[in-house]
Amino acid sequence: MTGMSELARSVAGHGLPGATTTWPEQPLDRTGWTEFLRCISRQRLSGLLVEALAAGDLPATPEQLDAASQLHFECVCAVLQLESELLPVLDAFGAAGVDARVLKGTAVAHLDFLDPAQRLFADVDLLVRSERIDDAVRILGGLGLTRQSVQPRAGFDRRFGKGATFVSTSGREFDLHRTFVMGPYGLRLQLDDLWERSDHFELGGRQVGALDADCRFLHSCYHTALGDTPPRLVPQRDVAQLLLSGRLDLDRVKRLIRAWQAEPVVARAVRLTWETLGIADITALSNWAQRYVASPRAEKDLAVYIDPDANSYAAKSVAVFSALPRSRDKAAFALAMALPRRGFVPPGELPGRSGRWQRALLSAVHRAARR
């Protein structure tokens, strides 16, 4: 890890109780600052950077202060435009009776940070119930948003998928979810638990629904542990922000972890967060996470998300196939993967190169049939 990304980690931990942050004693030189600001921009941390600069934690030249303010201003403008596009979507869902929960950045910014400008985001994530996902897809299409990839077969979104990604006419991304992630950990989630409770925040004169704090924390863990490789800093900040807020019902969190078989996910997320942000405070959950040892099967499931050699749509599809408990579902899933409708391109694959994941899945089907 370079010095610049270490400094970005200090920014990500800025203001967190118990975070051990290290700051340079002098402003960075021109080259270092340019690299650092690029890293901050990539990690969407300008909100916390301007706070660290204003607090005097990070020394900076007047030019550097201006550059950081300008970057943050641009990010804030982008967030406002995104939220402005979210409102008609929520109105349309409401008019059609499609219950929705705003996820990730939008919700966490408004509900978990003192100033929403500290938590920036570049897309909008929405959760709908599985049985309404086809309606939600139609509504988004009706609003002029374009779906990035068609579902492999009718009913796939509702039964097996994570959701669908849409792009608005202005190029902004909307991720529609029915579960947190694709693959085995997405299938093991007890989706009704996500709708059991909710929190609300005001946005543009409306009361907007979000997951309750326990589920927001768990979603941050999924985002941290199973999202990008290497894990991004912002979801790790969310994990720490929520866990250290003292607002979680830890007994319920533990119940949900057990029910969703999410121990490997949460342990990995909390461990990563504590290490990356250098958090000295020990909580019951961070203590558990440090001591948790994943089973070989859990390691294998995690690998389809985090191992660069195994992390692909094909690997996740094979893992989904294995995780499906009923042979009827296995058959429907295998059919959808082996004979998808025209135009289906697996996320991350180039059009016309879908043979790799089909072969991988078919080989898994054959292996299962031989057992």
Partner: protein
Amino acid sequence: MTEGQQRTVATAPSTTVWERDPHVLWRRSGTLVVLKAPAAAELVTLDESGLELWSELEQPITLQEVADRLAERYVVSPSQVAADLEPLFDDLERLHLIHRRVA
């Protein structure tokens, strides 16, 4: 009401209060505040004093009350601040960022 009876209506003196349009999206950006009215394509940025003004408008408030508070903070005459605020309030109203109502 029968003939000869008089109706007495108690009338409180009307006051115009100003408040943020609840449909406005906004964020602080350092010492600035960036605002987005629902129907507007463009964003509006207020500077440091605008941020203070925006904070004052969190609850319904009269122009005179805002002027008094800012005047106290900057040690200037309330009438001078009020005179400066009037066109600014009109602009913000025209941009659908705040509105007035009679309380």
